[in-house]
Subunit: 147 residues, 2 copies
DNA sequence: CTCTTATTTAGAATGCTTCTAATCTGATTG
DNA sequence: CAATCAGATTAGAAGCATTCTAAATAAGAG
């Protein structure tokens, strides 16, 4: 039995409206699939997840989306700055909903990523990049293991 | 026409002897394949290369080694501390012959890796790792692009 | 509503890596 | 210097994440 709580319903409606605007602003048509995926991605704080993660999460939420669309969407969101891609492991490719400047703990045992606030960390002594090259960003990965 | 220069020949001999000892020390049988690959890897300074890189380099050098052996060897060398694996890109997996503590420039355009000496860089303000976890290493990747 | 074009999709294809099971080789022993 | 045997190599199959293809579908404009 499903009970609809008015305030929640209103909130959900506002969310999907916001998401629609956000997609339009990024030059992306607010399709059923993109709205649903954006909801899963951005309605619960900072997250790190793989394409497969998002795909099964969508399935669990009753949203039917093909894996091809998952990949298309993750890449489009990344291009438009709504997501950031994190490279910590040769085999897993993570997408990060926290697009601000920050760094990560990476747990080699279970593949978990934990944010380190950008203000916390400072990298000093960086040499100049080679001639004709610009620094795009500096990534710090602190690899950790269970003791 | 190939001219054999005595001192080089002697040197090559010493090398293969050294490599044999090094493999034995790592608990690895000094097989024809491992000696040849170790030669390619360690006889020309610091290098960053993929399995495919090493495979074609071996072919070019006239050493017949299967791709399976390339992978086995790279992993064994990594486990025994003769190589370090570098994760900078979800698609390419690099092995680094420089096992000392150091960091990298990563060129997003062509996938090139450039060493940054460990002494040059300092990372400050690292928070404590979560309870029960140890820091294994801290990797800094400076992502650069052609201007 | 109609039309145009973007988007989605299933399934095939790709590329890198790992696995399998058969063969071979290095090292030890008699 | 054989015989032996565990460890190493191999070709090819399998696996897995990701990308591609071409056909079907849905969004937005008029
Ligand atoms: Mn909300
Ligand atoms: Mn030498
Ligand atoms: Zn993050
Ligand atoms: Zn290096």
């Amino acid at each position: 039995m499903v009970r609809v709580i008015p305030s929640t319903a209103k909130h959900a409606h506002r969310d999907s409206h916001d998401l629609t605007e956000r997609l339009r602003a990024a030059g992306l048509r607010p399709t059923r699939q993109r709205i649903a995926l954006a909801g899963l991605l951005f309605d619960q704080g900072d997250r790190h997840l793989t394409a497969e993660d998002l795909h099964s999460e969508a399935a669990r939420a009753g949203v039917k989306v093909s894996l091809a669309t998952i990949y298309n969407t993750l890449h489009q969101f990344t291009e438009s700055g709504m997501l950031k891609q994190v490279a910590v492991d040769a085999h897993r490719s993570y997408f990060d909903t926290n697009t601000g400047s920050h760094q990560h703990f990476y747990c080699e045992d279970d593949g978990a990523l934990i944010d380190i606030p950008g203000e916390a960390i400072a990298v000093s002594g960086l040499p100049m990049p080679p001639k004709g090259m610009d620094v795009e960003r500096v990534d710090v990965v602190v690899r950790i293991r269970k003791r």
